[in-house]
């Protein structure tokens, strides 16, 4: 299996707090990698190092390497914008912009100089189809995105994130604010998405990790305790702490 992104001795400090400790991890192409662990274990922080979203927080120091496309994305001559263009992100709370459904999906393509209407229309339709939202919104592309339901809004955010055809999609607890039915829809969607993209997700929901991920990484207090095939992690984990966590003893 080919690794699409790989971290080497990745360390992260928030001020005095050592939030990630020597993380080595290889994430494979066209797989869903789930990051699990109790609150404050560093899984979200780790996810955000992958597209340099931690850059905007003050007092963050990052050491080690994140290798993507053969380059360390923390090299000084790398433009974080160009990284984020290739590594998209979906957040916990659905956060469509207060504009129309169409404008939401066309937001980033417009910035990246897609001006021709036909091209934009194509991108919007493709992204919405890939996000399994097209049939529900095709008649109201000009309506405000805020009029959609929570689940639809989150799928719109996915469509918006894949409009640039990134290589990796990071999902930070993307279903935790949704009802079960919307959650299942998005899980189905993720199984589809991994055929085209690579998905890295943070989840609080262990069943979700077990249901849809190929690989699972268990974080605890900034350490990557265990990283293996999802089945292995849930059936016979190598570490005692992992076993305790996946069987619900703490967390």
């Amino acid at each position: 299996m080919m690794a699409i992104i790989q971290t080497k001795k990745l360390n992260l400090h928030y001020g005095d707090n050592h939030a990630l400790i020597d993380i080595d991890m290889r994430i494979n192409k066209h797989e869903i990698t789930a990051l699990i662990g109790p609150s404050g274990c560093g899984k979200s922080t780790f996810l955000r190092t992958l597209n340099r979203m931690n850059d905007i927080i003050r007092d963050v120091k990052i050491g080690g390497e994140v290798v993507f496309d053969g380059v360390n994305i923390y090299d000084t001559d790398i433009d974080p914008m160009s990284i984020r263009k290739k590594i998209g992100m979906v957040f916990q709370k659905p956060n469509p912009f207060p504009m129309s459904v169409y404008d939401n999906v066309a937001y980033a393509p417009r910035y990246h100089k897609v001006k021709r209407r036909i091209l934009l229309d194509e991108i919007v339709e493709r992204s919405l189809r890939q996000a399994a939202l097209w049939d529900e919104v095709k008649d109201r592309l000009k309506k405000s995105a805020l009029s959609l339901s929570g689940g639809q809004q989150q799928r719109l955010c996915i469509a918006r994130a894949i409009a640039l055809e990134p290589e990796i999609l990071l999902m930070d607890e993307a279903t935790s604010a949704l009802d079960p039915i919307s959650t299942f829809k998005i899980e189905d969607l993720m199984r589809e998405l991994k055929k085209t993209y690579t998905v890295v997700m943070v989840t609080h929901n262990m069943q979700q990790a077990a249901r849809i991920s190929d690989k699972t990484a268990f974080f605890l207090l900034g350490d990557l305790v265990e990283f293996n095939d999802t089945e292995q992690i849930f059936r016979s984990p190598a570490h005692k702490k992992t076993l305790e966590y996946v069987s619900g003893h703490f967390g």
Partner: protein
């Protein structure tokens, strides 16, 4: 004994308190409204009868012994628009810097504190500053431009503070989402932050317009008291000219016998109508901007 008795008593008293507080608040509101509408009614009752077409469409002239306020209306609108053109780019620009680019720290809080102090300075002090800085030092003379600059300085704190607050109130997750798509800050400001903050900015502009139209002390020192009819709307910025408020002051303090008794009230009534008109147009301009 009924164990609930104490509770019932307590409830009854709470209810009584509520009634008293509610009545007091009702009267407070009543007094506030009475004062407000009283002023408006008083000014309109005394002012409206004194308004006629000649009053609105001519300039004051000592030779013809005529009292008219057309130049003052024009000056007021002109100085307000000119002043907005000066203050909006500076004010909105610095608000964007303060909330989006500036590194949060001691320097920024000092700047914020200074802005707060600026908004508490009496306007006559600004007038003095305008007279020294714009009129004398920058050689603008008594002119509408000097007045507009002074008004811009006066309203700058309102614009900066309100714009900054409304930029800050924009949902943080919008910024995150946009950043995660690899767009730059300028694009986020242009496409999301400014449109979202627009209602707040419009509110700031309306407040500022009220302040500009209502200002008199600072303008006495800077844009002067001339009451001639402006000859050319485009080039009148370097001419001295009294706004409505300045003219009101003039007509109240040095009144030749041919100025009608109720002239100040007539000006006040016109002033209120002008403010209303400016506010409504600000509202519509803002609405248009937001749709874009």
């Amino acid at each position: 004994m009924n164990p609930y008795k104490a509770y019932n008593l307590y409830k009854k008293r709470a209810h009584k308190d509520t009634i008293i507080i509610r009545t007091l608040c009702f009267f407070a509101t009543g007094v506030a409204l009475a004062i407000l509408f009283g002023i408006i009614a008083f000014i309109f009752a005394k002012g409206i009868p004194a308004i006629n077409w000649k009053f609105l469409s001519t300039a004051t002239s000592y030779e013809e012994q005529n009292f008219g306020i057309l130049p003052n209306i024009l000056n007021t609108v002109y100085i307000t628009v000119l002043s907005l053109l000066i203050v909006l780019p500076i004010g909105i620009g610095s608000a964007i810097y303060l909330s989006e680019y500036g590194k949060q720290g001691r320097l920024l809080s000092v700047i914020r504190y200074t802005i707060e102090i600026l908004s508490g300075i009496p306007s006559i002090v600004y007038g003095l500053f305008g007279a020294l800085c714009f009129v004398t030092y920058l050689r603008m003379d008594y002119s509408l431009l000097a007045g507009a600059c002074t008004l811009a300085v006066i309203t700058l704190p309102i614009i900066i503070r309100t714009t900054e607050e409304s930029l800050k109130a924009v949902d943080v997750t919008y910024r995150e989402a946009a950043l995660s798509m690899g767009v730059n800050r300028l694009y986020i400001i242009r496409t999301i932050l400014l449109p979202c903050a627009m209602p707040g900015i419009i509110a700031a502009v309306i407040l500022s317009v009220g302040r500009m139209v209502g200002e008199s002390a600072a303008l006495l020192f800077t844009s002067g008291t001339a009451y001639e009819m402006p000859k050319n709307l485009l080039t009148m910025y370097d001419k001295s000219g009294a706004t409505l408020t300045v003219q009101l002051y003039q007509s109240f303090t040095e009144k030749p016998h041919w100025v009608p008794e109720d002239a100040p009230f007539a000006i006040a009534a016109v002033l209120m109508i002008v403010v209303l008109f400016l506010n409504i147009s600000t509202y519509f301009v803002g609405k248009k901007l937001k749709r874009k």
